[in-house]
């Protein structure tokens, strides 16, 4: 019984939040990795692009809620998501045409593009704050839990509850769908294949008649969709606050680099590596150990390796370790 309780507690506090957070990070990291693979720079505006797409989703969600539209047990935000994606696509295409294209034609150094992206970051960040304000916004509605901890206890008779939030379930389902669609697109369609060819070897791809502008446009569209989905899922799960999205830049980049920049599969693996390390290291293990260890040996402290305030430190340290011992990431990424 104690053993089961320990497993349930572990699942409730580590496994399920870790999977949901990992899926969100993975989607974010996929965007970073695609931009890196095709456009060949680290996009510092990524966190704010995420915030922008989510903001549109939030605004449309509020409008829908005001109109009385709802999805029943599911959050209305899912209905608003396509609008958020469209808004985000408009933004990234606009920035690409107005800002990035100039430097692409000049064949500017990657570092210049990174600095340019910080300019875009400022503008997007300013826009988001101007439109929706810097505060915390909640937009989740519908049923809160798939299984609540109390129901689970009543069902199984265990003393530990296992709660699964609707948002966590939706995160996993949506992430799986999005990743499946992405991989199908990259591996099965002509455009997807041309994107991979362009990423592998630009000159060769150009020689074989691939239109670079088309590849770039598709990349931005996909990135916009991925980031908006990632941002909306994160916002549903926690809440929407522009500054938090800016800070997500660090774990998202860490995930992309740990997996290997430019490798979509790596980005997904990296997302989960970062998410699980963050959750396990900042989780207080007292409860689980209390069940597992024989009586008398139960820990008196919280057995928390690091306080949650240092979760950035975790992604950072993992990033450093990977960089030191395997500079191209877990899955061979590219290096420009």
């Amino acid at each position: 019984m104690d053993f089961l309780n320990a497993i349930v507690a572990l699942a409730n506090f580590v496994l399920i939040p870790g999977i949901a957070y990992g899926a969100q990070l993975a989607l974010g990291a996929l965007g970073v990795t695609l931009i890196y693979g095709i456009l060949r720079f680290s996009n510092f505006a990524h966190g704010d692009t995420m915030a922008f797409g989510t903001m549109i989703t939030v605004l449309v969600t509020w409008w829908m809620q005001a109109q009385g539209v709802s999805l029943g047990p599911l959050p209305t935000a899912l209905l608003a998501l396509p609008f958020g994606i469209l808004g985000c696509m408009a933004l990234v295409l606009l920035t690409d045409r107005v800002v990035y294209r100039f430097y692409r034609e000049q064949k500017a150094k990657p570092m210049i593009l990174v600095i340019v992206s910080t300019g875009v970051m400022f503008i997007t960040n300013g826009l988001v704050r101007l439109i929706i304000g810097p505060g915390d916004q909640r937009f989740a509605d519908g049923e809160r839990f798939i299984i609540s901890a109390r129901d689970f206890k009543a069902m199984t008779g265990l003393s530990e509850g296992l709660g699964i939030k609707t948002t966590q379930g939706i995160t996993v389902v949506v992430a799986v769908l999005a990743v499946a669609a992405l991989f199908w697109f990259l591996n099965r369609t002509r455009t997807g294949k041309s994107m991979r060819a362009y990423s592998d070897n630009e000159d060769l791809a150009l020689l074989s008649g691939i239109n670079p502008e088309r590849v770039v446009t598709y990349t931005w569209l996909i990135v916009a969709a991925l980031t908006t989905v990632a941002g909306t899922l994160y916002g549903l799960d926690k809440s929407f606050k522009p500054f938090v999205y800016f800070q997500l830049l660090l774990p998202v980049f860490a995930a992309a680099i740990v997996g290997g920049l430019g490798s979509p599969l790596g980005a997904i693996a990296g997302g989960f590596v970062i998410a699980f390390s963050e959750v396990t290291i900042t989780y207080a293990w007292k409860k689980v150990l209390g069940y597992l260890l024989p009586e008398g040996l139960e820990p008196s402290g919280l057995v928390q390796l690091l306080s949650t305030d240092y979760k950035f430190a975790v992604s950072f340290v993992i990033l450093l370790i990977v960089l030191l011992f395997r500079p191209t990431g877990l899955f061979q990424g590219k290096s420009v």
């Binding site: 510092f44 910080t118 400022f122 997007t124 300013g126 704050r129 860490a254 240092y310 960089l323």
Partner: protein, 435 residues
Amino acid sequence: MSATMKNTLLFLLVGVLILITGMVQSWNSALLILNMGLVSAIMALGVNLQWGFAGLFNVGVMGFVALGGLAVVLVSEPPVEGAWGAGGAWRILGGLALGALSVAAAVLTYKRLPRGRMRGIAVLAILVLGFFVYRWIFDGGVELVEANNPASTGNIGGLNLPVLLAWPAGGLLAAGAAWIIGKTALGLRSDYLAIATLGIAEIIVAVLKNEDWLARGVKNISGLARPLPYEVDLQTDPGFVQTAAHLGLDPVIASTLYVKLGYTALFLVVLLVLLWLSQMALKSPWGRMMRAIRDNETAAEAMGKDVTRRHLQIFILGSAVCGIAGAMMTTLDGQLTPGSYQPLRFTFLIWVMVIVGGSGNNFGSVLGAMLIWFLWVQVEPIGLWLIQLITAGMAEGSALKVHLLNSAAHMRLLTMGVVLLLVLRFSPKGLIPEK
């Protein structure tokens, strides 16, 4: 128009802008802008050392600035009696030393032992054991220190030295952090350094916010020592009041201006010294070598230059300059508020200054810093005024109008982004290009 002429005019323009602020708003706000502009100029010099000279992309400026601020507390505050007396502070120091030792031991083991499974296990064992012993000693100390009168202290205090000493100390602290980061992240690809510095800055600020024993965390430390007299003391000093009256000034205003001008003079001295040093460095063979490395690492390496070592060197120097500026800023504020360190303000804004001023040119960085800081401060009232103008026709109290007026404060981020992009597009070398 010659280049010197143009540059002088640009500096004059900034001077005139500040003078206009003084005449239109108040001399106090003009001096505030000037003082923070000088501090920003020093930060920009530091970033310019790294980016302009050596092409290193450091987006962790905020962290080094915050470390400089920490140095002010650790140097100038008196030691907290109860913390040291009860032995808590000693325990913390011991714990930290032990932590550092176990990391050093792990690194040494990794280097000395032959490759293989044994090495991995040994390193891991040292680290895990070290971590638990460190936490055991350290946590006990922290508990003792933080329990000591938490409402007003609860920290270890400092060395009770003159506050001016904190400025070089801030530089040293930042240099130490830069050494650790540089040792691990330099030599890797340039964007990795960017992410690594971004991360370390967040961690440094997180430490400042959460480690209450260090500098009281988000409970802040205010009333830090200052190198200049207090306004209140000046106002009661008959000699000062008399001089003020002689100049036709109100003693209260005169005292605030006197203190601010005092800071201006101090900051100006530091800036000029650092500027002179940077100029000498730029012109020296060392500076030429740096630029050669920046422009073509492979060629420089082929000429026998140790690129990684030189990068480490200039990374430490630039970060130290940022640390000095951070200590100066905290001294100016008179308080350390870890919650106020925001990456957009303390990292990316400095970058805008360097790029706009002209990367690779020290005078450009100084000019860019003053100009951008002026904009950063003044965009808010200007934006508010603009929005008031736009919304003048709207119905009083309409939701949109209220919302727009409330968000005027966020105009500055937008403006900075637009300025940065415009400069990068139409004048990528900045206002004063590198020679």
